[in-house]
Symmetry: D2
Subunit: 227 residues, 4 copies
């Protein structure tokens, strides 16, 4: 598994983009993250991941889902070994739009370790953050379910409580706070409150100029590193 | 919420028994647990819970499932307030035959507290035990999924590891070890290894004489208390 | 299984009511349906069904959900035999708030037949209506998912298309059209368009006077029979 | 959408193969199906589909799953437009290892039509076959759930009943009977009983020589056409 530098960035197009559009965004993310020497996690539709990897080889190629099965039966399931084989380096699990049972999440985190993929697990409340931290994924994304898709940023109390809940259990888990983050100020705020990484979905996708938006957000991370 | 005395016992007929049969078993469990002054958790089909409560009022009346909704829409969902209203004192959540997502389990444990019902959460691996303990249910049942329905008892290492995983997070959670427990010796073994409670399903249901079996298992708990 | 007279009525309190409140509504439904000699399907929380049956024995006692398992393992599942045993006469399946896979619905309809319970299956589009009719439940409820909880009544085209989709497959299935029905005029409209039954949830629960509302709606059915 | 010639063949590696292995099998299937001028449906892991298409352009490129969402939110979901964009021509839905609710299957079949992908829906009992046929997918695969993974072929009665159940509803749906099919005789048998296509998973994957096995099975289809 690769080792991520902090602060790092995530571009998560969910199901908003595919094909030529997601390749275009990936190339821009590759270029801008190289400019600022920032590790950039980038997700895409499973069928597009190979092409994203080829077009933007410096991005941390990331799947939006993975199942926990081993090679064998399992129709329509996402096989960890198949992801690893095409260069996938990380997988997002337990997003509110794709929640997992505790037993499945436990197995999936272990399977990710087994095949050498970083696990990035989404979480809502501080109690859920602590619970998930006990299963020791590589990273976590804290996002209050009530804010998903609203464009509103998490309040300070939520960010501080969830960071603490995770760190009290396992200091080595990298933490992303990304709910509603869409400006340089948002980036500085959440990193200032202790997050290791940030980024976004609609804040980037819906910006009139993707390169400018990526530049605005990633340059804010550098300002912070240098200050 | 009531306060459970340790060591305590659980009789969990799952979907094996209903109607007159489950009432018969409940009356026997009520009688035998009174004889040994043991708190006895007893589950049943939701439609039978009122009748069980009336026939065996000293049992800790327990539902096998509950949803996390509040009064309102929700067709076919199990409303916490409706359980509390008929005298339900505890609910089992996250059984391997009925697994929950982390977000749902978090909400259900909180709803149980809200309405005054004890939450009893099932768990498999030590990592899952620690994770669930972070959400602070009243009790936990540790059972390796691979053993469910086999009639085999958990090995010592599993029992010790899961007890420790839970206690390291929250000392106040009561722990049941019940996988494959079906004899006086089994009861003594798991309590000797640190469990607060034990009991069973098929070990009891399939015994030729229910009263004798309950007597054998519960008397073993008293021997242990007195030794 | 009992034989339902048409036109019939349904009162479906979902998770809005429990305990004393649902008993009160059941008694009123029992009284008003007796007054007009109308068969009245009445649902409730599983834990309340016994008490509803005792308080209002003429209602068609109906569960809001049922699983397809047979007596045995199955923690937290709703056993058909346990329902039948306490007097349940019908079960609602596949509500939009509790959707089933095709294989599960097929098994559940068959289990209902096996134990002598009427199956009432919810459906959305005309294509889904035809599909479900091929599995031959006792009754169907047609409700556009987009209208659930809105208080709006289905338009004529939807009612006619779904009625036809079902009758083209199986003329013996009784059809309820109940989306947004809450007045005497609504009742006359949907029965006039060919439904065998109607009724409601929020249109009844939220009425200031339950008895008056039930009287208004059920008397409209009689007017129609006599006209 | 393309038009499939009958009799056609399916190679469905599920999660048994990925990467170089699935490419190797795809090339052989491409070669052998060209030899006999047979349309060959070929599935693979989503991340491998682009590479399969490039290596074996004559195969009917097929996804093992698809969601019904439209471009937008939807983390970890499989977007129909993203499949179409990389050349996917068909998608398998409702496999017993990935069952769908009726509402979701209805939406997914419609979304497949919308984007120009053939829908191939799996089914178990004759009642389920008729139900699914009412939603008019392009093709259906009949497979008794009890046989999946056993290597046993469906009996004549099952094949005839399910063929009839589908054809009575919609004569245009192409029917595959593939449970346990692994020899030239199996192929002749199921096509002789009226299926439009056949093929397999473990019968092919586990054969000592993939090319010989594909040759044996596909040549049997030609014999039949010519006889």
């Amino acid at each position: 598994m690769i080792k991520i530098k902090t602060p790092f960035f995530i571009v998560n197009p969910k199901s908003y983009l595919y094909g030529a559009d997601v390749i275009k965004l990936a190339k821009l993310a590759d270029k801008v993250s190289a400019r600022y020497d920032i590790d950039c996690i980038f997700t895409g539709q499973l069928v597009d991941l190979s092409a994203i990897h080829e077009a933007a080889p410096n991005l941390v190629l990331t799947a939006q889902h993975m199942d926990s099965l081993k090679p064998g039966r399992g129709m329509g399931h996402v096989l960890p070994e198949a992801l690893k084989n095409i260069g996938v380096q990380a997988v997002v699990l337990n997003h509110a739009e794709n929640p997992l049972t505790i037993a499945t999440l436990d197995r999936s985190i272990n399977r990710a370790k087994e095949v050498g993929i970083m696990s990035i697990v989404c979480s809502d409340t501080p109690a859920q953050c602590a619970a998930i931290a006990e299963m020791h994924p590589t990273m976590m994304i804290c996002e209050p379910n009530s804010l998903i898709g609203t464009g509103n940023i998490s309040n300070d109390e939520y960010i501080e409580q969830t960071n603490r809940a995770i760190r009290d259990v396992d200091k080595n888990i990298l933490i992303m706070q990304a709910a509603g983050v869409s400006t340089a100020d948002d980036v500085k705020k959440v990193l200032g409150l202790g997050a290791d990484g940030t980024g976004g979905t609609s804040g980037i996708i819906k910006a009139p100029n993707w390169e400018e938006k990526l530049n605005e957000m990633m340059s804010a991370m550098v300002d912070l590193k240098e200050s």
